[in-house]
Symmetry: C2
Subunit: 368 residues, 2 copies
Amino acid sequence: MKTVKIDLGARSYEVRIGRGILGRAGEILPWIEGAQACIVTDQIVAERYLAPLRAALADGGKEVTECVLPGGERDKTLDGVSRIFETMLRARCERGVSVIALGGGVVGDMAGFAAACYQRGAPFIQAPTTLLAQVDSSVGGKTGVNHELGKNMIGAFHQPRRVLADTAVLDTLDKRQFSAGMAEVIKYGAINDAEFFTWLEENIGAVMAREHGELEFIIERACANKAQVIERDEHENASGGGRALLNFGHTFGHAIEAGAGYGNWLHGEAVATGMVMAARMSARLDMIPAEECARLEKLLRAAELPVAPFAGIDADGMLDLMRGDKKVRGGKLRLVLLRALGAAEVVEDYPPEALREIVAQFTAGKSA
Amino acid sequence: MKTVKIDLGARSYEVRIGRGILGRAGEILPWIEGAQACIVTDQIVAERYLAPLRAALADGGKEVTECVLPGGERDKTLDGVSRIFETMLRARCERGVSVIALGGGVVGDMAGFAAACYQRGAPFIQAPTTLLAQVDSSVGGKTGVNHELGKNMIGAFHQPRRVLADTAVLDTLDKRQFSAGMAEVIKYGAINDAEFFTWLEENIGAVMAREHGELEFIIERACANKAQVIERDEHENASGGGRALLNFGHTFGHAIEAGAGYGNWLHGEAVATGMVMAARMSARLDMIPAEECARLEKLLRAAELPVAPFAGIDADGMLDLMRGDKKVRGGKLRLVLLRALGAAEVVEDYPPEALREIVAQFTAGKSA
């Protein structure tokens, strides 16, 4: 059992990491103040994990409402969240209801946004059931939905009261989903923790074999790195470092997802390829040597993630999508690049043709 | 020209009240940090006031996007806000865009909620064009939309950077809308400011004739009263006093609006009748003498507001709607009642038959 403290003043909370904690009433009941709880989950997760959580809450005397979503990035829209509101209103959930997200990143984003907006703010608890959600999306308070014109364009900052990362759920996690989570784990090494990056290079075999101790360690280390960043910049207001650094690979990645249509790429897969593009750009600007770029690619490949050129969009289309991304400030596309493996920075001043060159390498001859 | 300071720490701002300030660039430009502004308004307001505001912004070098809503409480939905997002995304508004609400309460609520959620939070400015919005909804940071199962059930707290209350716009304000605004003005006297209540009784003629000095005074005094309350309880967390007191007449009023269908009653009209019901309940519980109840009714009548029994819903239906209102905590319907003209309090402990009696007086024999 491990604990990572997220220190945000009045909004502080703990990430609890351990095997089987989702079934332990003592890990969740004390964080539910009122009489009501609303579990938001998706169909696949519901079959496996809803019953024990519901039982723990009901045994604790809570009035439990459930909202089972279809699941998937395509449902992550205002309409999708509207169905959560409808379920909560029909069940007469009051403003003090605790909304519990039981699921992956999509469920967490939607349930968190619903909690943020339900009667202008209800308490929220994260019970992430994918590696990606455990190491990344469940921590830090970002919630929201997609718009057809852009990913995560509508949302709120709404910190959870507690995060329960049960490593037992990873035993049955789909292989592709597990790898997608590894993309964000590797990201934390690349942007903020050289020692962790080296540890991952040495232990990627045990991690991919899902050894219990190794899983607990990577979740703890990823969350601790994320905590460091968000404690400096909770609402992504810092212009240079801060939370923007967490977007390493994401400006490229979001454009890949949008260009190829949401749902074809997993978020983590697009981020993996996006990190390779960002690293290549860093090398192109002589910020890192080509060998460090190669180390990142090798580790991502060992985590069974895509790192190669892709189909579905041409260079102009990709650049256009990148400029539409919300990391644009004052019309200038800011990039998160590496100045070493283990240290990222925001770069605004670069030759535009260098970016076009990198994008063309990954999209050339691949337009639909 | 008058100024009311809203003191909320890092989220403090000023309400500026004066004739013609909407056309003064100096009142707005310094509060727009970035290069972009998005004006959200409705069709009727756009015809009268959009051009000068747009010109002031454009002359100041801002890139201006406009979103003209159909207007009306029926459009205050998630779908309505979604159209604001679409306009902003198509115009490539960045996260730093200043969203300006030019209009009444509906425009302010929708634009404020859009600003709260656009890329997880954009700066926001209120330019209220109705008396109701100037004295009430533009101050305090409450934003949101209706759900078919309840009014204002979805929303966020998002404080504006500045409120510009131009009294010149009241010259052309529809008579019914003006009276609706007066309901909230009178509310501040009733719940928090006995001296102001007496002033209103003595000067209601000049106010209803829309004398310039009197208008500036009532807006200033209403905002100053609201400031006092929200500075104590920004996010409506106080269990007893605090922001809940602002809901005097509103639990009844929301049920009237919902029961009669949104759009048939103006919000202020429903609040007026709701205040009479709350005052009668206060008298029924011996909290105030019947004469104070009569004074409130007389003042509301002088402001040309409805204070009588109404059609469209029966007592059971009304009680059911009141219990579905978000002011319910722990299943118990809390009421904001008067312990004097000029002082309100939250009451949880009352005989349920007393409430039924009051509701029946206003709905008896009137069911559809």
